[in-house]
């Protein structure tokens, strides 16, 4: 069987010592930053982005992915112990996780969320393994019009579903596309929007942009708001054992959570945060005792934690098979691939089978390592929570500065990171979400290229996007999403709290 051969190839790639090492580094770092509120997944991935220049592409991807799904594991720790989500995807876990910790059942919550994450991730990986090839085969039939339509769908979905106002999300996406156009135009060689800086002719550096928007901005917004924990938790193995009733109640939550997470993860633009919220809402609706939710019931942590991990894994499906990132994290993964000259998309499976299957198999290894990191070693992560933020953040600023300098050995990038940090902070205060901006930035050049190519093929007729059935349906779906998003954000507009300046712990 071909699949079996691929899996063996993947396993041998993933077990090569170099890849194995970076997989462990990635998930350990992911857990670490997931545990600490105020240091986001995106910030860390951006921080480590420069290192990927020095790594083999497969190892680089394995590490970056490890940070991403590792942080979702670690993020539940802060949710449960501090009532502060380590990452936005773990925010719902606070609702029942923190009450459990207050009742002295924090150990159980920590163990069970790890189990939930593992189950969710496993479902996601199985889907990724089974469906990547069929989807890639369909994708081979796509022309530039279809690609353009799917990218527009992804961008609109990402901005509409993201927290906050839909119109602002769309604005950020469009702004990102514009930012992505900075630099030399491939077709004509004309340098666009370079403001006279030769450094900008190659485009705005993704590292400077990501580190500015997510590193510097987040630090500025977190300084006065993040507190360290002084928790003395009982985290012996014995304290972690759940009761038989709790185990029984967890199954349903995990099954529903993994289904919801996997389905939402495949859709472009819908990330683990939405998946976790949906899973919690569904769980509450189907429960016979909905009044238990919010008071420390085990289903309330199992369903969202399964869903966010399943969604983490499933979001690799559109990224790897179509080359269209569904989220900002995936945009960074694609950025890393392009740095190494690998064009993500359906041809990746045939041209780079070792890399593709190696990455998939590394997810298994990474998730097993995460279980080891999160169960026997949980005490260590709890101690990390007690490091005060005022010791951490000057060091993070240092990492940002050196990391961004190291990309081109040019101080220009440090000025750029400063500029984007300030811009990102202003946007944040004005209630714009900076994440869709990065997605637009990565997709911008691809969007232009496919748009131009589609128009060239149709001899300048805009009808091509409607004449081709796949592209038409995708665009109709996009329009529906757009109308729904704008309509629902207009409805919510009634009350706006004044305390919006506080950071969303990410």
């Amino acid at each position: 069987m071909e699949l079996l051969g691929n899996l063996v190839l993947g396993l041998s790639t993933a077990l090569a010592w170099n890849n194995l090492l970076w997989c462990v580094v990635g998930v350990a770092l992911g857990t670490l930053i997931g545990v600490i509120p105020g240091v986001g997944t995106l910030a860390t991935m951006s921080l480590l982005f420069p290192i990927t220049y020095h790594l083999e592409p497969t190892a680089a991807l394995i590490m970056l992915s490890g940070i991403w799904y590792g942080s979702t594991y670690g993020g539940s720790t802060a949710s449960i112990l501090l009532n502060l989500p380590g990452t936005p995807a773990n925010a719902v876990t606070c609702l029942d996780g923190f009450p459990m910790a207050k009742q002295g059942r924090g150990g159980v919550a920590l163990l069970m969320t790890t189990v939930a994450s593992f189950v969710g991730a496993s479902v996601g990986i199985v889907l990724l393994t089974l469906f990547s090839e069929p989807i890639a085969n369909i994708a081979f039939k796509f022309g530039p019009a279809e690609y353009f339509a799917i990218m527009v769908l992804g961008l609109v979905a990402a901005s509409v579903v993201s927290s906050g106002s839909a119109i602002k999300g769309i604005t950020m996406v469009v702004g990102g596309v514009l930012l992505g156009l900075v630099g030399t135009d491939v077709n004509s060689g004309v340098s666009r929007f370079d403001f006279g800086f030769p450094e900008l002719q190659d485009g705005v550096g993704i590292v400077a942009l990501a580190m500015g928007l997510f590193g510097i901005t987040e630090i500025i917004a977190s300084i006065n708001h993040v507190k360290a924990a002084d928790s003395k938790m009982d985290v012996s193995m014995k304290s972690m054992l759940p009761t038989r009733d709790e185990v029984k109640r967890s199954w349903g939550g995990m099954a529903r959570g993994s289904g919801i997470g996997a389905w939402l993860g495949v859709l472009p633009g819908v990330g683990p945060t939405v998946a976790a919220y949906m899973a919690y809402a569904v769980e509450k609706r189907v429960s016979k005792k909905p009044e238990r939710f919010g008071k420390g019931t085990i289903e309330g942590i199992m369903a969202p934690e399964t869903a966010n991990s399943a969604s983490d894994m499933a979001s690799f499906i559109p990224t790897l098979t179509l080359g269209i990132p569904g989220s900002v994290t995936m945009a960074l993964i694609i950025g890393a691939m392009m740095i190494h000259g690998i064009q993500p998309g359906p041809q990746m499976l045939t041209e780079q089978p070792g890399m593709f299957w190696g990455l998939v198999m590394s997810f298994w290894i990474g998730n097993i390592v995460l279980v080891i990191l999160n169960v026997p070693m949980i005490g260590m992560w709890i101690r990390v929570l007690t490091i005060p933020y005022h010791i951490l953040y000057p060091a993070i600023v240092m990492f940002v500065c050196i990391g961004v300098y190291g990309v081109n050995n040019n101080v220009f990038d440090v000025y750029l990171v400063l500029l984007f940090g300030i811009v990102g902070y202003v946007l944040r205060v004005l209630d714009f979400e900076p994440a869709p901006l990065l997605l637009g930035y990565v997709l911008g050049p691809m969007l232009e290229e496919n748009f131009r190519r589609a128009m060239l093929l149709s001899r300048g007729s805009f009808q091509t996007f409607i004449d081709r059935p796949i592209s038409m349906w995708v665009l109709i779906l996009t329009a529906v999403l757009l109308v729904w998003g704008v309509w629902s954000s207009l409805r919510q507009r009634s009350t706006v709290a004044l305390s919006d300046a506080s950071p969303k712990a990410a």
Binding site: I391, P394, C401, L430, F451
Partner: protein, 149 residues
Amino acid sequence: MRRVDYRDLLGGGLITLVGAAAMYHSLTSFTLGTSDRMGPGYFPALVGGVLALCGLAILIPALLRAGPVPRFEWRPLLWISLSTLAFALLLVPFGLIPAIIGQTILAGISDCKLSWKGSLMLAVGVAVGATLLFKMALGLIVPVFAWPW
């Protein structure tokens, strides 16, 4: 005075300006081409126009309702910016360690939770750690100490 949503007014206004400027620049400085053979200006002009429209869509409703006044936390914004700036300015003329020490100390002023002594100790610690990691282990091309004169 009539109450308006200052936050969205400011945000929408800035976005409209950026979009309009990008559109104007693309229309005037680059060749547009035709829709079947697009020049370098066609797509950016389109995107700039859409951005300006988005800005207007945020700006206009903001005039009709009351809303929160944006609150900037100037202190961390200023000191973190200065900290990054110090690093950029000091790195090439003075070298890695002075740049990191300057950067760390300035960053520490943002919340003033450390004493001068603690701040200095942290700065030296971070600088030494960073030198070992980036210079020795990762081989970053930058002098550890330099003297511009």
